[in-house]
Amino acid sequence: MEDQQYIRLSALNDMIQDTLSSRFAGQRFWVLADITNHSFKADKKIHYFELVEKGQNGNGITAKILGKSWGGGAVRIEEFEKSTGQTFTNNLHVLVQVSIDYHPLYGLSASVLDIDSNFMLGILEQQRNATLERLVRENDFIQKQGDGYSTFNSSLALPAVIQRVAVISSSSSAGNEDFRHTMQHNDFGYAFQIDDYYSVVQGDNNAKLFLNKLIEIYTTAIPYDAVVINRGGGSQSDFLIFDNYNIARAVAKFPIPVITGIGHQKNVSITDLMAHTHTKTPTKAAEFIIAHNRSFEQLMLSLRQNIAIKSQQLFLNQYKELSELRSTVSHKSRSLLQLHGQELGRINQRMVSSSKSILYQHQKKLILAAHQLVQSPKMLLQQKKNELLHVENAIKISANDYLRRESVTLAHHLKSIQMMSPQNILRKGYAIVRLNEEITSSAENIQTGNEIEVILRDAILRSTVKEKIKYDGRDTDL
């Protein structure tokens, strides 16, 4: 071995460079390839990517070369983007004109000098679309919604708090370590139970292994709050497993919300589209879970604060209402009493004034009556006096009249009497008969034989009745 000849690596690489340049210098090739792992340094206007060719069946890659494009090539790419409306990016199936470069330090690469706009869509994208179409077509739990997809998994509600998590990742994944670290050292002191389910997470041919891990999680019957699929950063071609139909379908159908943390900055895998939530890195997946829990805690905190504030307001309002009621009751009852008092006062006043006026009227009547009373006896007396006076006068007058009349009558009577006096009568020839000392004008009691006295004008004749003869007085009828 010690005698063997050797050359320096740089000499070897120089030889390769010489060989390659003698073969490829100044030559340009139109090549059909797919773009993956693309990045663009905007400040230097350099595209870095890989050109790949896939096998006829499935997603296996059969050829790959590093590619870059700057200067005139980058200008052509810009024109391509403008003319097609398609960004020069991963999964683009392109027809590009390349030259082959070899650098002793940086190795073999293809410089893209031109791009054919007619090859707009890459086969990867076409396959991707075909896979997506098939997923929608063959599974009723997957629907296209605008630019995204709605699946059974994405329609699941995340638990309010995520605490128990199953993680599918590769055992050696630095990304998974980031995830665990971020979860366990969160700022809010949330505790998590993280169960690892290791699998190979690259290469389309490992899809079955990955699928079995999902089934294993399901069959443990552990009530996980979420399943996280973690994959650290890597080149685009490593992620083809996540465009696998069966994995995408299983994720879409999985009964526990799936959160993806598949590390790539450029692409969204089909698995990402089928999952409940997709994040760009394992760390971001952890941050999403923490933020989710945080938002629950925030909700609790704000509810607590609300309760405190609202109950305080409630108490304030109730106190206010009570004090208003108290002041209303005391004020209004006082004023009501006052009102009634005033009403009473008014009634009292009315009563006093009306009774006064009644009294006054009665008094007036009384005074009038008294006055009248005082006046009337005097008048009566006067009247009586007048009457008396009148009577007196009348008496005086009538007495005199009467006396005069009487004296006239008396004189007349005197004359009559004088004319009718027995002496006169006797003088006229009449006689008076006396029986038993009594004058009689009838002979009824005079019986024959009775002693009678016949008185004449100048003598009394004592006689005895010899005979009684009936006499009717016709003798005097002269």
């Binding site: 607590r304 309760i307 405190a308 109950s311 108490f315 109730q318 106190y319 209402e321 009570l322 009621l325 108290r326 209303t328 009751v329 005391s330 209004k332 009852s333 009501l336 009493l337 009102l339 009634h340």
Partner: protein, 68 residues
């Protein structure tokens, strides 16, 4: 007989009395007793509020520092 009074019923009764007095539909005969009842109700409500507030404050402060 012990009266079973809740804050709600006390408050509604109190409000009713207040309205009655305010609308002057109350008779003077019952005014004193009603005002007395109102003052009892206010006292009851105040006490209930104060107790509840103290309790709620305690609970909230416990809520804010759960380790105690």
């Amino acid at each position: 007989m012990e009266e079973i009074l809740t804050y709600e019923t006390a408050l509604s009764e109190l409000t009713a009395i207040s309205k009655e007095i305010e609308n002057e539909t109350i008779s003077v005969d019952t005014l004193a007793s009603k005002v007395k009842r109102a003052s009892q109700l206010i006292e009851f409500c105040q006490a209930k509020l104060k107790n509840t507030e103290a309790e709620v404050t305690k609970i909230i402060s416990r809520m804010e520092s759960p380790e105690n």
